[in-house]
């Protein structure tokens, strides 16, 4: 886009960036630039989404700089960001835009086909025909398309102990980030426990409630859905695992359990795989999930 700016605009931007860097002493942190002469523009800027830029104070001359640093360490909220008049300073604003951008891109992203190939996952689709329809009609995301039912009938092992599948939900990016770690752990854990795992697959435009319909076809004892969570600002990689014991067409959230916030930095994906296997064993032992499982286990504890 740089070509579209006038040289005067470029100068203005450069002046602002230089002033910003001088104020912040950013140059030493790695933001670099050279060649201010017209026709020789060369910008090579540091990654402002890194912790070095996120944890820095942007308050001009705070009364107690060391206190401000301590306050900022107590919360992930965006404090200590300073102001230009009553508005934001440049760097915090640019970081915010970048954060919002990754959440938006995650929401509308399609899964990387090579990931599906790697795990030999075939793809089916819910009744939602587009991302927009998926967002507008949650009910369609909970139903399998006719083609999907047919494909599952043809390709899936029936009556397994455990059926595991993945769905994009609100972030295919989350599946890309975590599936490589989570799926093998679950597979190995089930094998060690002597449990028969069904044929895994991937659902496009899927919501959690779809696992009821999946089980109408495969008739598993436990169904596990790995699904992308709604992206937080700047964080699109969080995945959840929803589990249900013998899901029926009318099963609800109260009948399910969930391991949420799975990503490096939240619930570690390898550990999450182990949690999922533990949940499965408990569900099979008590022949229950969700609130019923909780009540049964509480009863045992008392």
């Amino acid at each position: 886009m740089i070509e579209m700016l006038t040289s005067q605009q470029i100068d203005t931007i450069i002046d602002a960036v230089v002033a910003e860097m001088q104020k912040q002493g950013v140059t030493a942190a790695g933001a670099r630039m050279s060649g201010r002469a017209e026709g020789a523009l060369s910008l090579d800027l540091a990654d402002i989404t890194t912790p070095a830029f996120r944890t820095r104070s942007y308050v001009e001359q705070p009364g107690k700089p060391e206190v401000l640093r301590a306050l900022m360490q107590t919360t992930p909220a965006r404090i200590g960001i300073g102001h230009a008049g009553p508005r934001y300073r440049n760097i915090p604003q640019l970081v915010f835009w970048a954060d919002h951008a990754v959440t938006q891109d995650a929401l509308f992203k399609e899964i990387d086909p090579s990931l599906l190939e790697q795990f030999n996952l075939f793809q089916v689709q819910s009744q939602a025909s587009s991302r927009q329809e998926y967002l507008l009609r949650p009910d369609l995301g909970r139903k399998l398309s006719d083609a999907a039912v047919k494909t599952l009938q043809e390709r899936c092992v029936k009556n397994p102990d455990v059926q595991v599948y993945a769905a994009d939900g609100l972030s295919a990016t989350a599946i890309e980030h975590n599936l490589r770690d989570v799926l093998p752990v679950i597979g190995q854990g089930l094998e060690q426990a002597g449990l028969k795992m069904g044929t895994p697959f991937y659902v496009k435009y899927g919501r959690v409630g779809l696992l009821n319909e999946v089980n109408v076809v495969v008739n598993a004892r436990v169904v596990v859905c790995l699904i992308g969570e709604r992206p937080g600002l700047g964080r699109a990689e969080a995945m959840s695992a929803y589990l249900g014991y013998r899901p029926q067409p009318d099963s609800t959230d109260a009948d399910r359990d969930v391991v949420c916030n799975i990503f490096n930095g939240g619930t570690n994906p390898l550990e999450a795989g182990a949690y999922v296997v533990e949940y499965i064993k408990r569900m099979l032992k008590h022949q229950a999930s969700g609130i019923r499982l909780k009540l049964i286990e509480q009863g045992e504890a008392n």
Binding site: L71, A77, H83, G85, L136, R137, L170, P231, L233
Partner: protein, 456 residues
């Protein structure tokens, strides 16, 4: 009941008022989801035309749910002043619209008329209003309340300090409170959404936030937005509660899904009057949002705006210090994009002011809605022009606990500066005393934005 009109030579006929009300709405994804939206733009125009000629008595006599079957309906209809209603019952919805917009109609006139209005009438007239109509009409209606300070006076704009934290860490929440105060956010309330709704957790946050208020003699109030029963228990045990909070729905069945009833709210209000640590006479804080009833399958085939306005009719029973809709929180299946969220925000504010309650707005969006910070800034400028009582204030508008975006600590001072508005008077004096606010220039001073001011 015959409800029919012609446009471009074609006849449009509607079965009942419910169908007219649904189809007369500006387009919203939630009304499509409920199957009550107009199927075309011209059908919407026809429904508006028919609605404009519907007399108010017809809406009075056809509430969303019959009187005998729903306690929210009973609250709304029992509050109608029959003498006022008798004067206006034969007005059409269209006449009500023109009367509200008429330059001869004063704030006082509207305050009298609102005693004869039901939520269904108020929702109906909003459907005949353009966005600028909604801004203009709302700007005429002041609703002033008082807890520790005075909300809603002409020329003032407040900001809720919303210092949420993903693990309820009191140190982190306190740091965010300081940051917000340093920008002049906190005059509506210091209101924390807890992750952990348990009594011990809520009491801990009440104690911490109240101590900040006491230590710095801040003319404001605290609130921890847990379930109302938890706050009632905390008050009984002596915890310092400024405002008592609850989310509301517009039908009894919807409130069932929130685990509340009119009886429970009555009790909470009585306890608040007795134990809340503010002088009052207003003690309550409610949140609402279009679509909540549909998501609980408690909408009875009505549109989401009409059910939303019924929340305000219920809220009015408790003379709340403040109410806001959380307008973009519910997600794109109810309000799809910036245009729909903006429209709903303007409707909610107008309808609440016409109901007679102190209305603010959580102008916000989730990350799966087609909206962004620009669109919520636009909405907040429109609402501030409409006389909205308050907005949220969050660190850079980003809530790391609820994972959505709303107004920033920076937005209230910006709106005050743009539109020549002041913080609430008692709070403004406090800001001036601390050297954070220039009351002549109506802008922040150079000292603002430094949270360390509050660390001794």
């Amino acid at each position: 009941m015959l409800l029919r009109c012609k446009l471009f030579g074609k006849t449009y006929e509607f079965r009942d008022l419910r169908e007219v009300m649904g189809k007369a709405n500006e387009e919203k994804s939630g009304d499509h989801l409920a199957g009550v939206a107009a199927s075309s733009a011209i059908e919407r125009a026809a429904a508006k035309y028919v609605l404009s000629e519907v007399p108010l008595w017809a809406l009075y006599e056809n509430p969303v749910i019959p009187y005998e079957q729903d306690e929210v309906t009973r609250v709304i209809l029992d509050a109608v002043a029959q003498n006022v209603y008798a004067d206006i019952r034969n007005w059409t919805v269209g006449e009500l619209r023109e009367w509200l917009l008429d330059n001869r109609t004063t704030d006082e006139d509207i305050h009298r008329a609102q005693q004869g209005l039901t939520s269904e009438m108020i929702a109906a007239v909003a459907k005949l209003m353009s966005n600028m109509d909604l801004v203009l009409a709302a700007s005429k209606i002041r609703v002033v309340t008082h807890a520790n300070n005075t909300m809603g006076l002409m020329g003032t704009l407040a900001s809720r300090n919303q210092p949420n934290h993903p693990t309820d860490d009191p140190d982190g929440i306190r740091a965010e409170i300081y940051e917000g105060l340093s920008y002049g956010s906190g005059d509506s309330v210091i209101g924390i959404n807890p992750v952990d709704d348990s009594l011990a957790s809520v009491q801990r946050l009440l104690d911490m936030s109240y101590k900040v208020i006491q230590d710095w003699k801040i003319p404001t109030q605290n609130c921890v937005l847990s379930h109302v029963t938890t706050q009632m228990e905390a008050m009984k045990r002596g915890s310092p509660v400024g405002l008592v909070f609850q989310s509301l729905a517009g039908s009894q069945k919807g409130n069932d899904s929130f685990g509340i009833s009119v009886g429970m709210l009555d009790e909470a209000y009585e306890i608040a009057k007795k134990y809340a640590v503010v002088p009052g006479p207003n003690y309550m804080y409610f949140e609402t949002g279009e679509g909540a009833e549909l998501s609980a399958d408690a909408h009875y085939g009505w549109d989401q705006l009409t059910l939303e306005v019924r929340c305000y009719g219920l809220a009015k029973r408790y003379a709340p210090f403040q109410v806001n809709s959380v307008v973009g929180f519910i997600g794109p299946e109810y309000l799809y994009d910036a245009r729909q969220i903006t429209r709903a925000g303007l409707e909610d504010h107008f309808c609440a002011k016409l109901t007679g309650i102190s209305m603010g707005c959580d102008a916000c969006y989730t990350n799966h809605a087609r909206a962004d910070q620009n669109s919520l800034e636009n909405l907040s400028i429109l609402l501030a022009a409409a006389g909205c009582n308050y907005f949220m204030g969050l660190p850079m508008g980003d809530d790391p606990m609820l994972s959505y975006q709303s107004n920033s600590f920076h937005d209230a001072p910006s709106l005050r500066q743009i539109l020549r508005l002041r913080p609430l008077p008692e709070f403004e004096a406090w800001l001036v005393e601390l050297g954070l606010w220039d009351k002549d220039k109506l802008q922040l001073t150079d000292r603002a934005g430094d949270a360390t001011l509050f660390v001794r």
